[in-house]
Symmetry: C2
């Protein structure tokens, strides 16, 4: 009888703990100049469905007591497979018509991090980034070397053609036909994907995955695989994943700067993220947005563009799936 009471008490304690510790997750699928009516009804339905699948998959892991690391990877993998987003299958094409992918991931508990840049044929670059973090002494691997590492640890590869959609092929043709110079200077849509999460153990994680810029050349790497610029997570501050015009996000170390303002100035997560996105980046001309979560489960999703594909589920279980600024 005594044993039974003790067990019941422990169960009750355990349930109490798990129900009071906040969990939270946010995802993005890119930001840019998007207005109501630009997407067809079918396109909009597909985008919202993919965002919903992704946020639900990540939240399900957190709700079952899983880690923020597993949650962000699960959420990002769904967006990498969805052809609507510029990551994994459906990513933009380089100047040479190829798909070159970048991704990074960071564990806020240990500050362990992994990144790959300019990999080809990797179905889930976010898995390759996690493998760099877990199975190598390094943080960042690039190009053929990163591909060789991914192969050596059993990462899934797909045929190069599997990644290329008709939409991206037409997009490259259009950009190359209209390009005044050989370099694509800017885009109106930066559809990198990413996720940030807080798990019931209080651990933060962030993950970002992208195909970069349409018509990119010369092995251009944007902010997505750069720890500090496109991705950052630290239990002592916050977790951030960015999407936007990568060069500006690198120069302003956007993901880490939000964490630094939060940590050093006493501003809230929202205020820290707003300052960087609406003040610093707007003044310098850098388009884009971020998703961010702190250790209390507060979520911020600011963007300085017309829209950002995004979704979140907060500590109270409230779900948002949104596209437009007034969504």
């Amino acid at each position: 009888m005594k044993t039974f009471v003790l067990t019941a008490s422990l169960m009750l304690m355990s349930m109490t703990v798990s129900s009071t510790e906040p969990i939270a997750i946010a995802i993005h699928g890119g930001a840019g100049t998007i207005e109501r009516g630009k997407l067809t009804e079918t396109q909009e339905r597909e985008v919202r469905a993919a965002l919903n699948d992704s946020i639900e998959a990540g939240h399900r892991i957190l709700a079952a007591g899983g880690s923020s690391m597993d949650a962000v990877v699960a959420a990002v993998k769904i967006l990498e497979d969805a052809p609507q987003f510029n990551a994994g299958r459906g990513a933009v094409l380089t100047h040479e018509g190829k798909v070159e992918l970048d991704a990074s991931i960071m564990d806020g508990a240990s500050l362990a991090a992994g990144a790959v840049a300019s990999v080809t044929g990797v179905r889930h670059p976010i898995e390759a980034a996690r493998a760099v973090m877990m199975h190598s002494p390094h943080v960042m691997l690039v190009s053929e070397g990163a591909n060789a590492f991914a192969e050596s640890v059993g990462i899934e590869f797909k045929d190069p053609d599997w990644f290329i959609t008709d939409f991206r092929a037409r997009q490259l043709e259009s950009v190359q036909a209209n390009a005044q110079s050989s370099v694509q200077l800017s885009e109106d849509w930066f559809s990198t994907v990413g996720a940030v999460a807080l798990d019931a153990s209080g651990n933060l994680a962030a993950a970002t995955s992208t195909g970069g810029m349409t018509n990119k050349r010369w092995g251009r790497v944007g902010d997505s695989p750069i720890i500090g610029a496109g991705t950052y997570a630290d239990n002592a501050s916050c977790a951030v994943s960015a999407t936007g015009h990568g060069e500006f996000f690198i120069r302003h170390v956007v993901a880490y700067d939000i964490c630094a303002r939060f940590k050093y100035t006493g501003l809230s997560l929202r205020e820290s993220a707003d300052q960087v996105i609406h003040d610093v980046l707007v003044e310098s001309g850098g388009d884009g947005g971020v998703i961010a979560v702190d250790g209390k489960g507060n979520i911020a999703m600011p963007f300085n563009t017309q829209g950002m594909y995004r979704a979140s589920m907060n500590a109270a279980g409230q779900k948002i799936v949104a596209i437009y600024g007034d969504d």
Copy 2:
């Protein structure tokens, strides 16, 4: 007569301004476990001579009213050519016995930045990084793409063998013979090179160049070409170039974090740099050091290793050329 007086007054004003505006420069050639007696007398003389040449070349440009950008490039180029340092000629060899070079540069006035990673055959990777900053819309280019870009803008190339010294060839043999695993986990000497400077116009600049880690594989990229980790410059805070175990410098966004602490917390440059090098990095096990300068010409050169090849000339014209901790 009136004209003469006016001209004389203007000359005097101009001399007064240039003599009161501080200029300052600091360079490094790596940090690690170095004790008196480890270097031969000849080696020590060569290292000190190269450091002296580099700091003098950079300071001469600043003293003549040149830009901090030109000063850091001139200083780094001398260290890239000197075979004693792990950058340009004399860089460490990869697992495959090749020289793969990384570099980055940042202009504190505009926050313009450029970086190359895993380039081969480029005599002065810092010139390639500056070309990315000036002649491309991008910040970071990697591997073959970065090489192709460097060729397209007329950067100087050398035969692959030109870069390889007997010392580095023996070092790779030794590491590969002793390696328990196929991966080199740590080194006792991180001889990346770098420079930071303040010019008479109040502009800061930072530059870093390296060959990375001996026996590196899989296109490993360290902190040196990562804006925020190995290099950062912002007139509103400071300029930093780092040397050390790159993975730790990436995870802690070392260069930018020093600027962030300086900007957000009101600590001095020295206190900001000391916190990151002696507290954050020591706690996490990250060996290395930085050179840093702020807009008033204050210089900090902290390192948590036994020694760091370093030199500086401050606003008063005082020159330091040093190797050991008690130097």
